[in-house]
Amino acid sequence: MKIAVVVFPGSNCDIDLYEALHTVLGADVEYVSHKCEDLSEFDAVMLPGGFSYGDYLRCGAIARFSKVMPEIVRMANEGKPVFGTCNGFQILTEAGLLPGALKQNNSLKFVCKTVPLVVENVQTPFTHEYTNGEVINLPIAHADGSYYADEETLAQLEENGQVVFRYAKENPNGSLHDIAGICNERGNVLGMMPHPERAVEALLGNEDGLRVFKSLLTSGTVKTEGK
């Protein structure tokens, strides 16, 4: 499996995704410029955290007009794994690949800490190595992570099992339904505010995120649920 990590101007967790996949797991992964218009050689694509275009206007609002985006939409539509963490999640919602939006945290402040999450859908290409209902700890680091969607959308997300990660003890940002990460109906596009790529090495004190990437690398051999 060949994986692309997209680098937008202002991305800064690109190295974290790359190192998690390349150095920790030995995966075949490459950085791809936001100007790249052909991702046909890749089997999966990752959108990193950071401040694409300085988060000016609205987080992710400018990045979604990047030249690379039509390719990401194509891959999503073809059922290929598409992953966004933090700013990557914001870009996926701005691009309409995931429903809802991320608002400023209720505290109005950036927050960086490790929080417990429940894994609620283990049938995605990013979570099949977890067990349903398992509580894991992952770092968050964002100022705009409060998930919002209208009631109808929220009801659909819940009904379809599209809520993949939910904040377990405390809700750090005011997300509706304590949502930390969601997938599309088909399950191949996942966006989450927490940073699994920061939790892949014992040296840094946490390996709870490692299975997100292990799941991806073995997803070809596992049948994940989809329509």
């Binding site: 202002g10 955290g49 300085g54 950036f110 960086c112 840094l204």
Partner: protein, 741 residues
């Protein structure tokens, strides 16, 4: 408005407002130029001869610092200092103050402080890997102070988070002396391959001077001179001297500059950040370092405002700009590289060999003076110094003895003092983990960053304690270095070298100059003993408000090397049954300037006891050896609040407790004798550890599964649930920040 003519300048003396003295102006006219300088030239002299750029007051004192050893690859004089860490790698670091801008506009002041120090690092060819800060404010009961704290913290986070550079450590203290003049010092640490080392020089006749980054506006004009004068309520026009930051622009600039220096070093002759005094200082320093001259065509400088004068273009301190010297013939390559990052790069001049600094504006020569007059000919005047009266009085005073009736309540009260209490409400607004190399982040004795592709790690800390320097500049200076070394060693690292920010009041006051001189002498002596040369630094004088000076506060930024990540030591205890040791010199009655004294008397006074530098260095290195051989489970150095606070902090978050018996009275539990550690050791390593440390390790108890801190003193026994102590420690600052009075 037409600019004043040279003659009008001579008569109306605007330069006095810009910080040049009459004597300096006369010297420039009579001895250097042999003519009257025009408006632009006078402005250039004013900024280049300001303390911020020239160090004219502090230079004699700075010469006291050792700045070399076999590891130092680059000492003071460049954007940042560089130290060899083996494997053909080097660590690059520097600290800088942004006190004055932060006191006027806290968010932008702090943000651009971070931005400026990051540029210093990547201008050397290094990628910044971590930031730290050292912040000193008035008391948190003051509403304006709360506003400043919130603004400064938001500014540091706003810039650093967006840049994707983790903020991994720092310090924050509160004392009334900083109320009108807070201290905001930022430190950045970078990593590089030694082959990528760059310098800020403009050499080679005909080579291009290229301007890159943000456009030039009218912001921050005379920022350097602003930073070199004191505050008063009458000066209300200072806000225009504060710059505004754009971290997104800087992120692009950093990536572009690193691509240039790492992949196309052959195109490049030199590179320098445009910091204080903007184009003026960067261009003439680059020429001066290479012994060259320059011709710059100012109309080519990208400008975001119309009708800017040469004076404004040269003195603007707009952020996110760099100056390059590029080999002739490679201009287009460089311009194209920056365009890839959507950045503007423009050839604004050429290198010459006549040593003249020539500025043209639409063809008209507006400046033509020898480069060296701006950089080398600054009048260094000996400063008068006099021992402050309080120091003489303190030596005659009987030592102050605290009155502790209840050690437990005293400990709980100390844990809630803002200088000691948890700073998590602030540090969790900083991204401390981005780039996934942070092993130990905020709240640790030192921030620890692993170095990818090696087994190594770097430990880093900032420490400044104005109180001790106020009470005894020399000993206080020594203690600042001891404290920084202790933090680094406590993390398992060998201290390599240091940077500093020297924050003081008006050096024209002989008592202030005495503080500066003697505290630097104290630091220098400690640096010799610990073999930690000073490789970079910054001086911030005139930290006064309405004539009241801050405590002289030298900040030490120390970086240490851990050879094997297996031997990184954190400050929290690990396992019940582990033995607890007090490592260090014997605890003495060190209460002058202590947190206990301040809490009980609301002030600080008295004389400091001498610090046994050689002894401290000796056992610290022994302690380090025990860490490197795996004998130490945890280590935390005792600083504010003494051993009592140190013991409590080693338990916070561990899920464990401790039972401790000390041959100390309850007062001494809070004494702040420098250079002590609380260390936990597995019972199996008891003999090896005790043999290695000898008389410098005293077994004081053990880690318990019961989550209480139980302490037996010679005159009191107490036990307190760790959770109770931790809650008070955690909630003190959020509670103060919320309360209104």
């Amino acid at each position: 408005m037409a600019e004043l003519t040279p003659k009008e300048i001579q008569t109306l003396k605007p330069y006095l407002e810009w910080g040049l003295t009459q004597k300096e102006y006369d010297y420039i006219c009579d001895k250097l130029l042999h003519r009257l300088p025009n408006y632009t030239e006078t402005g250039l002299f004013a900024v280049m001869w300001s303390e911020h750029c020239s160090y004219k007051k502090s230079k004699p004192v700075l010469r006291l610092f050792p700045n070399k050893n076999e590891r130092v690859l680059q000492g003071p004089g460049e954007g940042a200092g560089i130290v060899d860490i083996g494997d053909d790698l080097a660590v690059v670091f520097k600290a800088e103050s942004h006190n004055h801008p932060s006191a006027v506009e806290p968010y932008e002041g702090a943000a651009t402080g971070v931005g400026g120090i990051l540029r210093d690092i990547f201008s050397m060819g290094a990628r910044p890997i971590a930031s730290l800060d050292s912040l000193h404010f008035g008391e948190l009961t003051d509403e304006r102070t709360k506003y400043l704290v919130n603004g400064v913290v938001a500014g540091i986070g706003g810039y650093g988070n967006c840049m994707g550079i983790p903020t991994v450590g720092g310090e924050m203290t509160f004392d009334d002396c900083y109320r009108g003049n807070c201290l905001v010092n930022a430190m950045s640490v970078g990593l590089m391959e030694q082959k990528d080392m760059q310098k800020g020089r403009a050499a080679g006749v005909g080579n291009a001077v290229i301007y890159v980054g943000a456009k030039t506006g009218r912001d921050g004009i005379h920022g350097a001179t602003f930073a070199s004068s004191d505050f008063s309520d009458e000066k209300e026009t200072q806000r225009s001297a504060v710059q505004v930051g754009n971290p997104f622009m800087e992120k692009l600039l950093m990536e572009a500059c690193l691509k240039l220096t790492h992949e196309h070093a052959d195109w490049l002759v030199g590179i320098q950040d445009m910091g204080a005094a903007g184009i003026a200082s960067s261009s003439c320093e680059m020429a001066s370092k290479a012994g060259s001259g320059l011709v710059l065509e100012l109309e080519k400088v990208p400008q975001r405002e119309t009708e800017m004068t040469p004076y404004e273009i040269m003195l603007s301190e707009s952020q996110e700009r760099m100056l390059l010297c590029v080999r002739k013939g490679y201009e287009e390559n460089v311009i194209k590289l920056f365009k890839e990052f959507d950045l503007e790069a423009v050839v604004i001049g050429r290198v010459t060999d006549d040593g003249q600094y020539v500025l043209k504006h639409h063809g008209e020569v507006v400046t033509d003076i020898p480069v060296t007059t701006l950089t080398d000919d600054v009048l260094e005047e000996p400063s008068a110094e006099q021992m402050p009266k309080r120091l003489k009085e303190a030596k005659e005073m009987a030592p102050w003895t605290p009155d502790v009736t209840d050690a437990k309540q005293t400990l709980l009260a100390l844990l809630q003092q803002p200088t000691i209490a948890s700073k998590e409400m602030f540090t969790q607004t900083y991204d401390s983990q981005v780039r996934t190399s942070t092993v130990l982040g905020p709240g640790s004795d030192a921030g620890v960053m692993r170095i990818r592709k090696t087994n190594k790690a770097l430990a880093m800390t900032t420490d400044g304690n104005g109180r001790f320097v106020y009470l005894d500049p020399e000993i206080g200076g020594q203690m600042a270095v001891v404290e920084a070394c202790a933090n680094v060693i406590s993390s398992g690292a060998l201290p390599l070298a240091m940077t500093d920010c020297l924050n003081y009041g008006d050096p024209n006051d002989p008592e202030i100059y005495y503080e500066l001189h003697h505290s630097v002498a104290g630091m220098a002596k400690a640096c010799e003993v610990f073999d930690t040369p000073v490789i970079s630094g910054n001086v911030s004088l005139y930290n006064e408000n309405n004539g009241e000076a801050i405590y002289g506060t030298p900040m030490v930024g120390m970086v240490g090397l851990i050879e094997n990540v297996k031997h990184i030591i954190s400050s929290t205890v690990k396992q019940a049954g582990d033995l607890l040791y007090l490592v260090g010199v014997k605890t003495k009655a060190d209460f002058a300037g202590s947190e206990l004294q301040k809490m009980q008397t609301k002030k600080i006074f008295g004389a400091l006891n001498p610090v046994e530098l050689t002894t401290i260095n000796d056992y610290m290195k022994k302690l380090l050896t025990t860490m490197q051989t795996g004998l130490v489970q945890s280590s935390h150095d005792a600083s504010e609040g003494g051993l009592g606070v140190c013991l409590a902090e080693t338990l916070f978050g561990s899920g464990l407790g401790a039972s401790v018996e000390l041959d100390l009275t309850k007062e001494l539990l809070f004494s702040e004798t420098a250079g002590r550690f609380v260390v936990s050791v597995s019972p199996k390593d008891q003999v090896a550890f005790e043999t290695a440390l000898g008389e410098f390790a005293t077994k004081i108890g053990e880690v318990t599964a019961t989550e209480n801190l139980a302490v037996t003193l010679t005159d009191e026994n107490f036990s307190v649930p760790v959770a109770t102590a931790q809650k008070l420690w955690e909630e003190a600052i959020p509670c103060l920040m919320k309360s209104k009075d």
